[in-house]
């Protein structure tokens, strides 16, 4: 496969073609099977967290080191001179990008990664820009789905929880829309999929439906993607009522497909009970581990012309 990702910025999942998504998934699988501690040899990656995100940072920096690269950077904008001295992001990027071969960043404002990519000479990888995009999360989700189902094509996938504010759900649905999947949306009316996204899916000819009863749809599914509902969005009684309706417990999983898997971007609170962990359907911890492979795949494709 030709590597069209070489030297490319990875800002938004919508920038990636179906072929590019497949290339990343294939590369992740290959690296998971055969570690490649040589692919980033001699490369320095800037890891710039203008906003703290321990999971993403650890996963990303592990990926750099597993490929034989080194990283420089900082883990919270507030603790560096960058935020404090009032320097613009544009100026920070111009300076940092002269030290590194690639720039991985997380920032609290939407659009920050796109902006950074316009001021950087090296590839920029978005590790989350405010409430907007978090493409490496989507890539590890796709990899986990591919790994467990053997394909991304024609799957039945349910999303449950906070579908309104959950950017991981939005990006994953947009990516899977390229693979002829069918979606089931399970959420309280206050947290349902935003209309503009439904419009986009409709225009792309994607089949989707809305549901209230999680148990009823489980037997049809290949993947259940659970997200956390933030308690703060509800008053306590409302939250309890809602919670009881959308929580996944082991006894709901009595007639699911053998290949069925439960995914969750983590951290989980109480939307998946602990008894689910012991079932063969739980895949969320492997999914988190896959984050390292997906990020290795992305880094290696962006920084070297050849795919493995």
């Amino acid at each position: 496969m030709k590597n069209t990702l070489y030297n490319k910025d990875i800002i938004s999942i919508a920038d990636l073609s179906r072929e590019e998504l497949e290339l990343i998934v294939a590369q992740a699988q290959s690296i998971k099977k055969t570690p490649r501690p040589d692919l980033l040899k001699g490369k320095i990656i800037a890891s710039c967290f203008f906003e703290a995100s321990t999971r993403t940072r650890l996963s990303f920096e592990t990926a750099v080191q597993r490929l034989g690269g080194t990283h420089i950077g900082f883990d919270s904008g507030g603790n560096t001179s960058l935020g404090k001295k009032g320097e613009t992001l544009a100026d920070s990027v111009k300076v940092i990008n002269s030290y590194a071969d690639a720039f991985f960043m997380r920032h609290p404002k939407e659009g920050s990664a796109r902006l950074a990519s316009e001021f950087a000479n090296v590839p920029v990888i978005n590790g989350g820009d405010g409430a907007n995009q978090h493409p490496t999360q989507t890539l590890l989700d796709l990899f986990s789905i591919y790994e467990t189902q053997g394909s991304l094509e024609g799957l039945k996938i349910a999303f449950v929880g906070d579908l309104k504010y959950g950017r991981t759900v939005h990006s994953l649905a947009q990516a899977l829309a390229l693979f002829d999947c069918e979606f089931y949306f399970v959420a309280p009316p206050e947290l349902t999929m935003p209309e503009y996204l439904c419009d986009e899916l409709r225009q792309a000819g994607v089949k989707f439906s809305f549901h209230d009863d999680l148990e009823a749809i489980l037997p049809a599914l290949d993947i259940l993607y659970v997200t956390r509902v933030q308690k703060e969005r509800f008053d306590p009684t409302e939250y309890q009522h809602m919670q009881s309706k959308y929580v996944l417990t082991a006894d709901l999983l009595h007639s699911v497909k053998d290949t069925f898997k439960v995914l969750h971007p983590l951290p989980r609170v109480d939307e998946i009970t602990i008894d689910v962990d012991a079932t063969p359907y739980a895949y969320y911890f492997e999914q988190a581990e896959n984050g390292v492979y997906a990020r290795q795949a992305l880094l290696s494709l962006v920084l070297s012309e050849e795919s493995v």
Binding site: A14, T88, L89, K109, E110, G111, S112, L115, A131, Y196
Partner: protein, 153 residues
């Protein structure tokens, strides 16, 4: 009123913007800062349309709209027509069309958008969905109906 039609004086040269939805005329004047120029402007508000309903109309002397301005005009008045007048005659007449993108003039309604802190000008991509127009920010990727822009209301 004696006449059934409001007569708006003819202009020697300039631009007549016709078929503006009633109520949008003033917004257009403000947005394009037409009143800041010294040229004479005639505005007709709530004029009767031959097809029924009401419209606004703007005549600006000695002013030509650029293609870019004509496209921006479509954000307010999708069915407007622009008549270019020379020597009291209409020498060119065209319907406005929405541009693919609009640069610089709009500020992103998303207060958490990076464009508010940085040395960049905005870009919005325009998408027509059925009868709605949505503007999508190049940076924060959020889509907004035109009523969300302070420059357009």
């Amino acid at each position: 009123m004696t006449g059934r039609k409001l007569k708006v004086e003819a202009i020697a040269s300039g631009t007549v913007i016709d078929h503006i939805p009633a109520g949008m005329g003033i917004r257009i004047l403000n947005f394009f800062e037409l009143t800041k120029q010294q040229d004479r402007i005639t505005v007709g508000l709530n004029l009767k349309k031959s097809t029924g309903g009401k419209k606004d109309l703007i005549k600006v002397e000695n002013t030509k709209f650029t293609k870019e301005q004509a496209q921006q005009l479509a954000l307010f008045a999708q069915d407007a027509t622009i008549n270019v007048i020379e020597d009291y005659k209409v020498v060119e007449k065209f319907k406005v069309t929405l541009p693919e993108a609009i640069e610089e003039v709009l500020s992103c309604p998303n207060t958490n958008c990076i464009t508010h802190d940085e040395p960049v000008s905005s870009t919005f991509y325009i998408k027509e969905q059925q009868d709605k127009v949505a503007l999508k920010c190049h940076y924060c990727e959020k889509s907004f109906h035109q009523s969300f822009f302070k420059e357009l209301v």
